[in-house]
């Protein structure tokens, strides 16, 4: 038989050739990545997912551990010493330093956990999604509003299963909160106060001037990634990068995605119409204030305004961190403690207080709680609650329903959380926000932080 190729030249392809290779081809089927079978496809539930972890020295190792029941086929970290323990534990996984090389060369990866510092979440996740890999990305989804929007759109385009690592979103209590609020337990909610005990890392500090050598095993250029280059210093990593405007999203970005989740979900919030903030400042000498431009402040208060939506009244959400708490409500019983991190929802008929992940949610005073007829559970529960957050994603990777904090939810949520930093970095101004177009409409200066500035050679 003859075949014509696209250029019209006839090639010989014998029937024996064709049939003879069919058997080999059948055997070869199993060596072809599953995604070839059906595009960005789904692993059958009975089979194990091939997972890679990027940024596994810190929180990432918890995420990887939660996915141990699957195949951990690759681990990537720019700091081989910091991640040494994890590499050793999963010795069968191929070890990598550069996620781009890993994705280029290792073809059996089907899903990627991204637990790098915030400033590299977007570039890593995007690269994975472009190649049809499902992604689980630690919170905040991204450092900036623009990156969150890009990831949300990419998830839809590449039709991959996604999840943000705000594990509280899988707990029963946040679902109860939604059910109570939407049942009208406290009437129309017009105010929410959210607070955290973060930062527990240094903030309000200036850039170090010393330039110690880069430790062995750390690829500093890769760690910096898309952010502007600066000399290595141990103050940045591990963990404390959260403080730095070039690398993290501060206490608001770090914990807002946990603490504000109940409000965002139960009140069906999307884009705020305005935001304003004030924050602490350093006093270096008498009457001389020092405004830090390198790190987020030690403490801040952020006020978001949301418009009326879907039968719900406008609501103001107030965020506090750095040790600042909202006013203790008068009707909270004496002796009853406010948690270190949590929320108070204020409605026309009462208030609810809860912890970081909506745990211990109670209408107060307790007399009202006892009088409240709780509605039946109607929002599907996640097996394992917060402990089942990764498994929720894995089920989605295998063709199950979308994970509960997939990017359709967590993308806009992250946009709202991190846009608060626009106000933090422009204190004392009420910024009017056009969420659809990702733009502050009354202050050009504030828009400088909506999109990241990519270092040469990096882009989304």
């Amino acid at each position: 038989m003859e075949q014509s190729n696209v250029r019209g030249r006839k090639q010989k392809l014998s029937r024996r050739d064709f049939m003879g290779t069919a058997a080999a081809a059948m055997a070869a089927v199993t060596f072809v990545p599953r995604h070839v079978l059906g595009g960005a496809g789904r692993t059958p539930p009975s089979e194990k997912l091939n997972i890679a972890g990027v940024g596994v020295g810190g929180m990432g190792q918890n995420n990887v551990r939660a996915c141990e029941g699957e195949n951990i086929v690759a681990l990537c970290d720019v700091d081989s010493k910091y991640a040494a323990g994890v590499f050793k534990k999963y010795a069968k996984a191929r070890a990598w330093t550069d996620y781009r090389t890993m994705l280029d060369e290792q073809k059996d990866i089907e899903a990627v956990i991204v637990a790098t510092p915030d400033h590299t979440h977007a570039v890593v996740a995007m690269e994975a999604m472009k190649r049809g890999k499902h992604v689980y990305v630690q919170k905040p989804l991204t450092r900036t509003v623009y990156e969150a929007r890009m990831l949300t759109e990419a998830a839809r385009k590449y039709k991959v299963a996604t999840q943000m690592g705000n594990q509280g979103h899988s707990c029963d209590e946040v679902r109860m909160m939604c059910e109570w609020i939407q049942d009208g337990a406290i009437g129309d909610v017009h105010e929410v106060h959210c607070w955290t005990n973060r930062p527990v890392w240094p903030q309000g500090i200036g850039r170090p001037t010393e330039t110690p050598p880069v430790p062995e095993g750390l690829d500093w250029d890769l760690w910096i990634g898309p952010s502007p280059m600066r000399p290595y210093h141990p103050t940045y990593l591990p963990f404390n990068w959260r403080a730095w405007i070039d690398f993290g999203a501060g206490a608001l970005g770090d914990m807002g995605c946990h603490v504000m989740d109940a409000a965002f979900w139960s009140l069906k919030l999307k884009y705020p119409v305005s935001v304003q903030a004030s924050h602490s400042y350093d006093v270096r000498e008498m009457w001389t204030r020092f405004d830090n431009k390198e790190t987020y402040p030690r403490a801040e208060v952020v006020h978001y305004e949301f418009p009326a939506r879907e039968g719900m009244v406008p609501v103001k959400l107030h965020w506090y961190d750095g040790g600042i708490l909202p006013e203790r409500p008068d009707d909270l019983e004496p002796g009853r403690r406010m948690p270190e991190s949590g929320s108070i929802f204020v409605g026309s008929k009462g208030k609810i207080m809860c912890g970081t992940y909506s745990e211990n949610l109670r209408i107060f005073p307790e007399t009202k709680m006892r009088a409240y007829q709780r509605p039946p559970a109607r929002i599907p529960r996640i097996p394992g609650g917060t402990g089942g957050h990764e498994q929720d994603w894995i089920r989605a990777c295998k063709g199950g329903p979308a994970a509960s904090s997939n990017f359709d939810y967590s993308g806009p949520f992250t946009e709202t959380v991190v846009m608060g930093n626009l106000a933090v970095l422009n204190p004392g101004k009420k910024l009017l926000w056009d969420g659809e177009n990702m733009k502050v409409t009354n202050d050009d200066e504030a828009n400088a932080y909506v999109k990241p500035t990519f270092r040469d050679g990096w882009s989304l």
Binding site: L13, R131, E445
Partner: protein, 465 residues
């Protein structure tokens, strides 16, 4: 046999088999198999069946190599627009720059969706040669096309892109220049300060204004002397507002708030031109550095009216209440009626910022403002300012004015706002004041607001056991 395989094209397994044969079959000529895959893919893309087209797109995204890219690029113009859009997106994902010429050609398509997809893809595949195209497109188009071109200018990769943008900036016509200047800001090209400063002296107004806007982003404190010099030598008076905003924005980047005005203060004594002097005073007002207050106070008494005016406006917009006594004095004593009114408005605005004085003292100042107000309109402004206060004396003052025929609406509104803002204190007094509003007001909106505030106060109380 081949016909059988082709007839199974709707089956995804058959697709996989075709790919495996092409990639792994040891005795099958690889080039032949690949050519066959390409032909099948192109046929599927031309099939008119959306499901088959989507299946083909999913496959080609993963097949490596330039051959596939070239084939897709060659076939692109002949595909229907919806398929072209998908193929363009796939070419972006493949990241193979050999497709760039075809993508660039597609950016001239008669179909807008294809042009938009092509412009987005150029952002992924493009290089320095793409800069002029994207800038021109951003200048000449509107809507989604403009957005795509601008976004791609922002996303272009490569260390030489910044240089290309700056070089192109020098050579472009004004509308294109504006887009390139915008890209300088979005990409934070700090090497752009010098060319942008030059552009602020050019002949095109839009170029000048965009340059001032972007300089706010890319310029640093070290550039302030040059920027201030520009303000003192403007190409056109109509640029002055934007230029002043630029200086203030860059000054705000100085970490020590009490050093932010230093650059302007250093230059001011030597400036004789009245317009420039006024400009610098307004800039001091925007910066809000308290070290500038003595200079502004002195300027209030300047012989030149424009200088006085600038100083007054700077104090009126001051971000903290330090100028309150100065503004009160102007409101009481100025011979200039406009200045008296401006000062009064600034005074009321800044009373809202006072936080370290007893409430009674602040209310006494509001009453002074009310007495100074020359007409009903200004009295209403005072009441609007009072409504932002959150003290019991403010509430009492607002209630006392509810019987004034000309001011009752503003007084009622102020009562509602103050009652809401009073936190958890004085619940009974607040309810009583709100009840008075409900009884007296003829405005339905205010009545509803007052009722809602009472309901809220009642809802916050513990339920009886």
């Amino acid at each position: 046999m081949v016909r059988m395989v082709l007839s199974l094209r709707k089956c995804r397994w058959a697709w996989m088999l075709v790919v495996v044969l092409g990639l792994l079959g040891p005795t099958v000529d690889r080039a032949t198999a690949q050519d066959e895959i390409i032909k099948l893919v192109i046929d599927e893309l031309k099939s008119g069946d959306p499901e088959r087209q989507t299946g083909a797109i999913a496959i080609v995204r993963d097949i490596p190599g330039e051959t596939i890219t070239k084939a897709l690029a060659e076939e692109l113009p002949g595909l229907s627009p919806p398929v072209q859009v998908q193929v363009l997106s796939t070419l972006a994902d493949r990241g193979d720059a050999s497709a760039l010429p075809a993508v660039v050609a597609a950016s001239d398509s008669a179909d807008e969706s294809v042009r938009v997809a092509a412009l987005k893809t150029i952002g992924q595949l493009g290089n320095v040669s793409s800069v002029p195209l994207l800038a021109r497109r951003a200048a000449e188009s509107r809507g989604q096309e403009r957005k795509a071109a601008r976004d791609s200018l922002y996303r272009l990769r490569g260390g030489d892109i910044a240089k290309a943008i700056l070089e192109q900036l020098a050579a472009s016509e004004p509308t294109v220049k504006v887009e390139l200047i915008r890209a300088v800001g979005e990409r934070n090209i700090t090497q752009g300060v010098k060319p942008l400063l030059e552009a602020t002296a050019g002949s095109d107004r839009k170029v000048r204004l965009e340059s001032f806007k972007v300089l706010k982003v890319v310029a640093g404190p070290e550039d302030l002397p040059a920027l201030i010099d520009r303000v003192l030598n403007l190409a056109a008076e109509s640029d002055r507002n934007e230029a002043e905003k630029m200086i203030a924005a860059v000054a705000h980047k100085i970490e020590d708030p009490q050093a932010q005005a230093a650059g302007v203060l250093a230059v001011l004594p030597n400036v004789k031109d009245v317009k420039n002097k006024a400009s610098l005073l307004r800039i001091l007002g925007r910066i809000g550095d308290s070290t500038a207050l003595p200079v502004l106070r002195t300027a209030l008494k300047d012989a030149e009216k424009d200088v006085q005016d600038a100083a007054l406006r700077a104090l009126c917009d001051w971000p903290s209440p330090e100028p309150v006594p100065d503004l009160l004095a102007v409101a009481q004593t100025s011979e200039n009626r406009v200045h008296r009114i401006l000062a009064l408005r600034g005074f009321v605005q800044q009373l809202g910022l006072v936080s370290d004085q007893p409430a009674d003292k602040v209310i006494a100042l509001y009453r002074q403002a009310l007495d100074l107000a020359p007409n009903v309109m200004e009295k209403k402004r005072v009441l609007a300012g009072l409504g932002g206060a959150a003290t019991l004396p403010a509430l009492e003052m607002a209630v006392s004015l509810m019987d004034d025929e000309t001011l009752h609406l503003e007084a009622e509104s102020a009562v509602v706002r103050i009652a809401r803002n009073l936190g958890s204190e004085h619940a009974e007094r607040r309810k009583a004041a709100l009840a008075q509003v409900i009884e007296k007001t003829k405005n339905e909106t205010i009545r509803a607001q007052a009722q809602a505030a009472i309901d809220q106060l009642n809802g916050a109380e513990p339920a009886p056991n």
